[in-house]
């Protein structure tokens, strides 16, 4: 596969390490009510769609960016690639 890195352009996926669903960005608040349940759902449950999937890849043999790649799990077509940091900020994460 080829991942079109937003900074570096097209790179072979072999340079990257895959983590999983981009929902792993949405780490719950440890002090929220029902934090234990929230952490369970966060860490263990997955939509696992057959189709578009937003997922985390790490450019380990590159610039060490974490990327959010939107990829079709049936065709492997890649529809979008973003810096995970931008996605995290857009989802309201900060410090």
């Amino acid at each position: 596969m080829i991942i079109n890195h937003p900074i570096l352009g097209p790179r072979d996926s072999q340079e990257f390490t895959y983590l999983g669903d981009a929902s792993l960005i949405d780490r719950p608040d440890w002090q929220a009510e029902g934090a234990a349940d929230q952490f369970h759902d966060y860490l263990y449950l997955r939509d696992n769609p057959a189709g578009e999937h937003r997922e985390l890849w790490f450019h380990e043999q590159g610039d060490r960016s974490w990327l959010v790649v939107t990829r079709n799990t049936v065709t492997h077509e890649i529809l979008n690639v973003e810096l995970a940091r931008d996605v995290a900020r857009a989802r309201g994460r900060s410090k």
């Binding site: 999983g20 997955r46 696992n48 997922e55 049936v74």
Partner: protein
């Protein structure tokens, strides 16, 4: 009709006119006691044991395509009970014992062949881990032997003992492990279930569940609604896709695992060898092809195919271990979709929906589990209590903090 050598001879002499369909192709009835979704190895085994062990024969197995077309039709045929943890080893040992009597039981030669599995050890830490595992296996009634390098060399002198990057220091040998003719498992269970009255319905896709007041009443299919007292999902690889129709999210990701076979060769190796320092394991089929595999492609996928990097990685492992394979050719590669669970272990459980049951999360180990999975799932469906060797395979185990993590990799499915 009973299969036997005598029957084969008789048919040969009378023009093979007496062979009948291995299973029927009935139209679905309006309702059943149990509807099993998925005509793979586990689904068919479940139907077989429901009928045979529990006398429940008003059962349908519903298959989207053709039976045996999932992972029972695309694995590397290995059976073994060399697990480490309490939650797993008794289950896989039951499975191995069932394999040992399976062919006589369902009267179909699945070529169960216990030619031994050797897991190679390359470091002292691996030997310590192998010793712990071997002892766990023996304590659970399985078999294991710890070999040193010379013991390995005596078995397989052609492994790379000369210029290996990771020298072979020994291995854990599991003599009762081996291989099985995988397609025959599906067909044998199908035939056995069919003979006992189970309806196997091919080319029938489940499109939804009918759930009212928290109770599952049956399934909507491409052949219409089929009612059921109990609906049993058994579609590893597609578990999330099917259970999503019941509104469930699972602790599972779908990943592709590639497997390979070489051109046919005169005998090269007798048993199964697993390389402990690369991603490679290999056996030789009765037909002569080397059947081998390695690691997942690592990314979520529902496409039954993989990519080059893993092919290269696996075959590099092959050459590292067996340098005489240089001119042997890989004939065919294929991919299967794995239900990779969050701790590498499976589920056989009720769901929170009354009458809806779940079996899945088999990772890349579902084939060897087929008999015990069917046996235990049938037990659960018939009695509504988990079988004693499958008590750990609960869906809520992560909530409770009771993971069954053989590899110690945590909640990252592609690492199991």
């Amino acid at each position: 009709m009973r299969y036997s050598g005598l029957k084969v001879i008789k048919e040969a002499l009378t023009g093979h006119k007496g062979w009948r369909p291995t299973w029927r192709d009935p139209e679905p009835k309006k309702s059943y006691d149990v509807v099993i979704i998925g005509g793979g190895g586990h689904g068919l085994a479940t139907a077989y044991y429901l009928a045979k062990n529990h006398g429940i024969t008003n059962v349908a197995v519903i298959e989207k395509g053709w039976i045996g077309g999932g992972n029972v039709g695309r694995n590397t045929t290995i059976i073994r009970s060399n697990y480490l943890l309490d939650g797993n080893e008794p289950f896989y040992e039951l499975s191995l014992k069932l394999w040992e009597g399976l062919e006589q039981d369902f009267n179909y030669n699945a070529m169960v062949s216990q030619r031994g599995i050797l897991n190679l050890v390359h470091t002292d830490a691996q030997r310590d881990a192998a010793r712990r595992r071997g002892n766990a296996m023996i304590l659970n009634g399985s078999d294991a032997e710890l070999l040193d390098a010379e013991g390995v060399r005596a078995m397989y002198p052609f492994l790379n003992f000369n210029d290996a990057r990771f020298p072979i220091k020994g291995g854990l040998l599991h003599r009762r492990g081996g291989t099985v003719r995988h397609d025959a498992v599906a067909w044998g269970y199908a035939r056995g279930a069919d003979l006992r009255g189970v309806d196997i319905i091919q080319n029938c896709e489940v499109t939804g569940f009918r759930i009212e007041n928290g109770k599952c009443l049956g399934v909507e299919t491409t052949k219409g609604f089929i009612g059921a007292n109990k609906v049993a999902s058994c579609v590893a690889g597609s578990s999330s896709r099917v259970m999503e129709k019941a509104g469930m999210r699972l602790p599972i990701e779908s990943h592709v695992l590639q497997a390979f076979v070489s051109e046919g060769l005169k005998p090269v190796l007798d048993g199964v060898v697993t390389f402990g320092a690369g991603h490679f394991y290999v056996s030789q089929s009765d037909k002569g092809g080397l059947v081998f595999g390695g690691d997942l492609d690592m990314y979520n996928s529902y496409a039954q195919r993989g990519n080059l990097p893993v092919v290269e990685d696996v075959m590099e492992g092959g050459m590292a271990l067996m340098p005489m394979l240089g001119r042997v050719r890989m004939l065919r590669s294929w991919g299967g979709i794995m239900d990779m669970s969050m701790d590498g272990s499976p589920f056989i459980d009720k769901t929170h929906i009354d009458g809806l049951y779940f079996n899945g999360g088999w990772c890349y180990g579902g084939f060897k589990a087929t008999p015990a999975s069917g046996w235990c799932y049938a037990h659960l469906l018939a009695t509504d209590t988990p079988h004693k060797v499958a008590t750990a395979y609960r869906l809520d185990r992560f909530r409770r903090g009771c993971m069954i993590d053989e590899k110690g990799q945590g909640a990252q499915p592609n690492l199991h």
